[in-house]
Subunit: 664 residues, 2 copies
């Protein structure tokens, strides 16, 4: 496979490409970060950590950044993309701060903004924005997380007192894992089954005060601390019980459903189910933020591991010439470089998602498609983070196990990302459902049987809808004539391969699921037996849109050197992704056995070709050293003060650098 | 695929099968464990945790268990298998205790026993056994971990004073990550480059005192605390510098190399390199212990996750009938059940390894083969632990992220297992090297070029050597006539498939590596380009010997019901393993595309068939509830005292069980 060598590119040029549309937000965030406490918080007790994070949160409030995402009508900046980018940058620091900020301004503030009406915005938004009113987002219960539609907290309207009575019927209905609840939250947006006018109205959200000004739980409120967690210990997660707690009628966030004084219920959306999913649609920002933060944490881990691999040597080469740098081993390249390439791919997919949400102006179907894409990218980005950070830890051996080198905390803090803000397995099922039904309006109201009938009646075969650089991709794809002859680095072939896989997986899935609508079939059994197929459909769809975003970003890149390097990074991303799904491509006759071997060879070649650029590729993330913090990534290991320095200073011989560092 | 339903088996019957030869050790350990502090140590500070673990270590010393592995000549029990089983059982508790015990009695005590002579055993073993002398195993340096042969600490013999001078030349040569060093260790076995009689003699081990009776570092010794780690914070890891520290000539552990008073060096093993690897062979017990502890931790995690999945429900079935148990979802079964099956497989492979080591009586070649097998199983078991515990955490969602449910600590504590006691990537390379050269005597002395020539001259094709139940396996394998027609559950076909894969991967690897010996080739480049192939060779070899051990264990099983259930578990282990390597089997024409699809279908079917037995399969590990400790695994979530209980006790209505727990 003859490929031209890649010319060196300055990290700054790549940084500009990565920074993209909200570059100013990223630059300012980098400056701000240096002033924050070290993100290495392993020596803090839980209480100290929480205190530090709360103090940082107040600093952040003062900086003005949290307001930029809120509407201009209420003192905000109206810059949704800037706000999401700002959250993504927080992901380079202590992730507890990112999550605590996400709870206050994203989930809590976002719910008030999205589900409330003028009276709530006027009264609460200013205090939410300046952190005068720390709040919680109380949705999840011990017994119901993913299935929010069936939470069991109740809010019953009492027309006599014109109040809602909020109640926790039993222990499995307590609100659980609620951020900000154990210590700092004064009020919560509580999701509960609304009962008004003598009928159940489905899940609605109300503002329920939790603590008085001294921080003591109010009457009827019981709060328990969730205690120590794997990570994110700067966030005070708690459990909340409501014991017949009364709140005024106006506490209902009534944008999508209101209760009149006499208990009459009204809503602009007739269907209970559609109303519910419209309300859940407001979660989209949270999911995008988690995906962004997962990306940032992955970049930190890769920066640490790649720098270490460019510094640490082990074993002498058999041909002589001194000890070999870790990153010169193929096995080490294979651990880090494909992960790095996919991190680039996800970065561009994320940026495109943020821009699409920011630009708005989409119809209802487009909105659902966007929610689905956010769910899919959240799942892909957080699973990638879990795997990549784990790999980085292992690639740094014992040094990677020390807290001072930050990999343990990066791993532990991000670990919950795969299951919070939507469990990834559940999110992928949502994505597949959206694909199968073309994001039809009434989809959410369909049960599985209805969905199976819908597929039987309306699904005529998958139509691939491109999300980025449509005409370019169209052109590249149609330029490929014979797949088997295409060069392995032919982008058109890559795109076609992913597109064709998605189409096939979806078409065959639709065929299987149709059976669920047939008489005599158990819809549960049919759907359950196909669950691995469903998850695959979502995954391959996400892989296709991520690739398209990467291709579009390279196309936009003005610097030819940077474009060439990114092109090679994209090659590695695609081919290592193909390699990990080779069983499918082989099993479905998409790739011949000889071509499959060539794919593995090409991944090895690309690792070798990109090896000289690995340093630049991580430096391009431009994470300030103060935030990287890990001694192994800062050359501190060698420069570290030798405890026996006095001896050396007394004139005795000193070998500052080890043999291993100076050899070859 | 018509398979007979599996009859239920009592957990106790399975426990007996699992407990095997050292059942008494396991039973006693279970009783002892209930008396230990809870393994959930997340609320302890580093100092409190270290203190607790040291106290437990003294209790353990008093129990007499640590002595059972030492020679009877010095107060030990001479029961190597019992000792290793006892370490494995410690893996169910706080893993810090297991590691601290491993440092004291396995590494430190084991090195004195294996590398020392009468004078060391007489003087030190009693104090080592009763923990009167806490010690360290100071091998790894900051700059050299896997490549122990090139550590840079020096021990220079001074014939005038009849002392060795131990010295750390620079910061990269400090001893690093040394367990027991930061706080408790009084003495260390130090690995250093021996210089005696004016010549370099390679790496040898010496006993060097570190601290005085008050615990203060001795003159010339500098100790630094490694600080907080991802996990295992009850172990005090430290860094040690030696500044021209003098120890008497007798401090040399002189079994494999001695220095006379005048500085004359002598050794029963002529070759420096062979001597070194003979000395390293003593590490075998440490690796086996780590693999065992990894298995125990995996069993704890699976017990927690499976119990939770049998208790927690989410989403209603489309056909009505209430909420669905997590473990009734195919996706959830696929997360947990193949991992459980492989845990069983590794358990039996581990037991066989322990028995082989215990029985001894093998020649030098057999010894090397055993060391290689221990290295391979250590890598396989610890990577499996890392993946499986991660999966268990995710399968428990938010509850799995809480420290009280132990999964975070299990993950963090075991994380270093993949890179300590031999980095897994390096260990797999050792395994492949052993296979390629048939464990020839002088292998270790060969450089890569020599090894390539050796392969060219002597390698005539892989010979599969069975490690367990040879005649049974022979019979099963030869009963298979046409691979493509074999039933997917045919054990002979499984064995043949794994055997054939190993043979092919090794033969093709040998062909590639031969080139390294040809003139004009860079041996490093040739070996490096094949590194992924090398790692695959080791992996498929280990998978074959693990399968053979599982087959042999089922064959030994006297209870037909248990054998039938274990047979199905073995089917799932094999087919999910085949599924994860389908690209290889397809790409090498070993499995047709239609058969590949059938494999995936069979894995789904096996998950469904084993689902009713999942509870029994984890209960068979018989981990005491006091050690499981996680509230989500003890039904404590529902029974937990409701903070509002007074209200309920006052006669107000109480719904003790949630709808979700009572539905269907």
């Amino acid at each position: 496979m003859p490929v031209p060598a890649i010319d060196p590119v300055a990290a700054g040029v790549l940084t500009e490409v990565l920074d993209g549309r909200w570059a100013h937000i990223r630059r300012e965030a980098r400056l701000r970060m240096a002033a924050l406490p070290s993100p290495a918080t392993h020596d803090l007790s839980t209480e100290q950590h929480r205190e530090q994070v709360l103090a940082e949160l107040h600093e952040l409030a003062k900086s003005g950044y949290p307001r930029i995402g809120f509407p201009t009508s209420h003192g905000g900046g109206g810059d949704v993309g800037g706000s999401l980018t700002s959250f993504e940058m927080l992901g380079f620091g202590d992730l507890s701060l990112m999550v605590k900020a996400g709870v206050q301004w994203g989930l809590f503030g976002g719910a008030v903004e999205a589900l409330g009406t003028g009276r709530h915005l006027d009264r609460y938004l200013p205090e939410i924005i300046d952190l005068g009113l720390p709040g919680c987002f109380a949705m999840t219960e011990t017994g119901h997380g993913s299935d929010v539609q069936h939470v069991r907290t109740t809010a019953t309207y009492d027309p006599d007192s014109r109040e809602f009575v909020v109640n926790t019927p039993d222990v499995s209905a307590r609100k659980d894992y609620i951020g900000n609840a154990a210590r700092d939250g004064r009020i919560a947006v509580v999701f509960a089954q609304l009962d008004a006018g003598g009928a159940e109205r489905g899940v609605h959200a109300l503002l329920v005060p939790l603590r008085d000004d001294e921080g003591k739980p109010l009457p009827g409120i019981t709060i328990e601390d969730c205690g120590r967690k794997a990570g994110l210990n700067g966030v005070d997660n708690g459990r909340v019980w409501f014991d017949q707690v009364r709140v005024p009628r106006e506490a209902l966030l009534n944008r999508y459903g209101d209760v009149a004084e006499d208990g009459t219920y009204s809503s602009p959306i007739e269907s209970d189910s559609r109303r519910f999913f419209t309300m859940l649609g407001t979660l989209i920002r949270g999911r995008i933020s988690v995906a962004g933060a997962a990306g940032s944490a992955t970049k930190s881990a890769l920066t640490i591991a790649v720098r270490y691999a460019l510094d640490r040597r082990q074993f002498r080469a058999p041909d002589g010439g001194g000890e070999v740098l870790l990153l010169d081993y193929l096995a080490h390249q294979r651990k880090l470089l494909p992960a790095l390439a996919t991190t680039y791919a996800l970065h561009f997919a994320q940026a495109e998602l943020v821009a699409t949400l920011h630009d708005g102006d989409i119809d209802e179907r487009g909105q659902r498609e966007l929610e689905s894409r956010a769910a899919g990218i959240k799942a892909a980005a957080t699973w990638h983070a879990t795997r990549a950070i784990q790999t980085c830890r292992e690639a740094c051996g014992g040094a990677g196990y020390l807290a001072e080198n930050r990999l343990p905390q990066l791993k532990a803090d991000t670990d919950v990302f795969t299951t919070f803000e939507g469990d990834n397995t559940v999110l992928y099922q949502l994505v597949a459902k959206g694909l199968l039904t073309g994001y039809q309006q009434d989809l959410h109201e369909l049960g599985s049987v209805g969905m199976a009938r819908f597929i039987a009646d309306q699904f005529v075969g998958t139509v691939i809808e491109r999300t980025a650089a449509r005409s370019l991709i169209e052109r590249l794809v149609s330029a490929v004539t014979r797949d088997e002859d295409a060069d392995l680095l032919d982008r058109g072939w890559h795109l076609r391969l992913f597109e064709d896989r998605e189409k096939h997986v979806l078409d065959t899935l639709a065929r299987r699921l149709r059976r669920a609508g047939e008489p005599g079939e158990s819809a549960f059994e049919v759907f359950n037996a196909a669950q691995d197929h469903v998850l695959r459909a979502a995954r391959v769809h996400v892989e296709r849109i991520v690739l398209e975003a990467f291709v579009a970003a390279i196309d936009r890149c003005a610097d030819p050197g940077a474009a060439a390097l990114l092109g090679r990074v994209c090659d590695l991303h695609v081919l290592s992704s193909v390699e990990s799904d080779l069983d499918w491509f082989l099993g479905h006759g998409r790739i011949s056995t000889s071509r499959a071997k060539a794919v593995t060879g090409a991944v090895n070649d690309l690792c070798r070709d990109l090896r000289p650029h690995a340093g630049i590729l991580v430096e391009a993330f431009a994470i300030p050293d103060a935030v990287i913090a890990a001694p192994i990534a800062l050359g501190a290991e060698r420069d570290r003060q030798d405890p026996r320095r006095e001896r050396h200073q007394a004139g005795l011989p000193r070998k500052e650098d080890s043999d291993s560092a100076t050899a070859s």
